[in-house]
Homo-oligomer: 254 residues x 2
């Protein structure tokens, strides 16, 4: 397929790489800030554009990977009568956002966290798909199937819940890693000491469901230990006391 | 070394296996509940005991792996004049707990989460060590070094902070996995959809520090997306609204 990428951040970059590697042809990279577009465009060896009027109307697919609140603005400014399907890759933007402006549209949401620095094996990234109509769905599914072995149909409501789940299981989790790092640093201990624990905790739920492998003082209702933890937090990290109590109560009462 | 295991739960079981595999001789397994002692004792092919008076006084090492609040009681009831070193394996129990009862003592705290069902590569488990005196420390370090390549000295205060860090980065993290699973289930989606994301999130901090790889709507201050997430939570999971807001504020303001 001939594909126009709209966006040049983490997600656009990973999609660009994966689409190229799957044998598709990226024909343009758009960004409002041309210098941003140029970085990705150079890596993909294609033209960079910063004017939506110059978007190629003959591409097979237009992939919008932008901040959620920018997606609507871009859709409204796309040239009329684009030949191909327009999709966005966002977790929390309803597919209906396209309806006033575009005829054939869809969603291709990758359930993964992307960093510029770290390559990701796209072939195992679950891709949540949605489209304006069945013919368009078939096109989106064909494209998605060329990128990943794990594609599935998912309406906008389900996708929103999936995104919230991802926020808890990834973004909030990473913040707890950061809290751990901070607690260690205050005692002159290295973050490396809890890396095996972090990895094991994640690996454990690859083959179990999390509710069945909960460990720690809260699930055992080990009040003495929790009391010692709270005393340390009250002294050194008072801002964490309420959070520690709430989490422990949630774990115990679940 | 000849070793007596006091305890028969997750940690005792993993220690028992690792000690046997490292060529040490487990001579007894104690549990207050004999049926519990028997399970582990059978697996290790050694005698099970439930009476502290029958603890072998000639072992080189006594490893107490029990609930935190049981440790003090057991120490107080140990036979006098034990030949070997007595250690516990707890994160939050001060080494001073031994002082009134035992002469040579220490701590051997494994920074890892253990489940009966899942074997753990003990050779990479960080072991936090502490002892009553330098000669005893050397003995504990020798034993620990036969189990793991990652041993380090750590006083009781540091160890407590390490345990709190582990609670955030493991126990609380697992609860966020459980919240994710619950959010998905309510929408008829499988937990398997976020497993690659969970693993990637953990793998990312194996080579980075968490503060540098934070992603998601909160760090971007993407208010529109967070608002949609809160609306979904208010409708379906009102008990998560405050937690979502607190976590997002913490991430944004950090």
């Amino acid at each position: 397929m001939d594909i126009v990428l709209l966006g040049s951040g983490n997600v656009a970059t990973h999609f660009g790489r994966a689409l190229s590697e799957a044998g598709h042809r990226i024909v343009q990279v758009y960004s409002r800030t041309k210098s941003h577009a140029i970085v990705l465009a150079k890596a993909l060896d294609v033209p960079a554009i910063d004017d939506l009027a110059t978007v190629d109307p003959n591409a097979d697919l237009y992939v919008i990977s932008l901040k959620d609140d920018a997606i609507g603005q871009i859709i409204a400014q796309l040239p009329p009568a684009l030949k191909g399907v327009v999709v966005h890759t966002a977790g929390s933007v309803d597919v209906g956002i396209f309806a006033p402006y575009v005829q054939k549209y869809g969603v291709l949401y990758p359930v993964q966290t992307f960093s510029i620095a770290k390559p990701v094996d796209f072939s195992i990234v679950p891709l949540a798909l949605e489209a304006s109509d069945e013919a368009t769905y078939a096109q989106v599914a064909q494209l998605a199937g060329s990128l990943s072995t794990r594609i599935f149909r998912c309406d906008s409501r389900q996708r929103l819940a999936l995104h919230v789940a991802a926020v808890f299981a990834c973004n909030f989790v990473n913040h707890f890693y950061a809290i751990g790092a901070n607690l260690l640093q205050k005692q002159g201990l290295d973050f490396d000491l809890i890396r095996p624990l972090i990895l094991e905790t994640a690996q454990k739920v690859m083959s179990h469901v999390p509710g069945e492998v909960q460990t720690g003082p809260a699930i055992r209702n080990d009040i003495g230990t929790m009391q010692k933890h709270l005393e340390l937090l009250e002294e050194n990290h008072p801002e964490l006391v309420t959070l520690y109590k709430q989490m422990s109560e949630r774990i115990y009462s679940n």
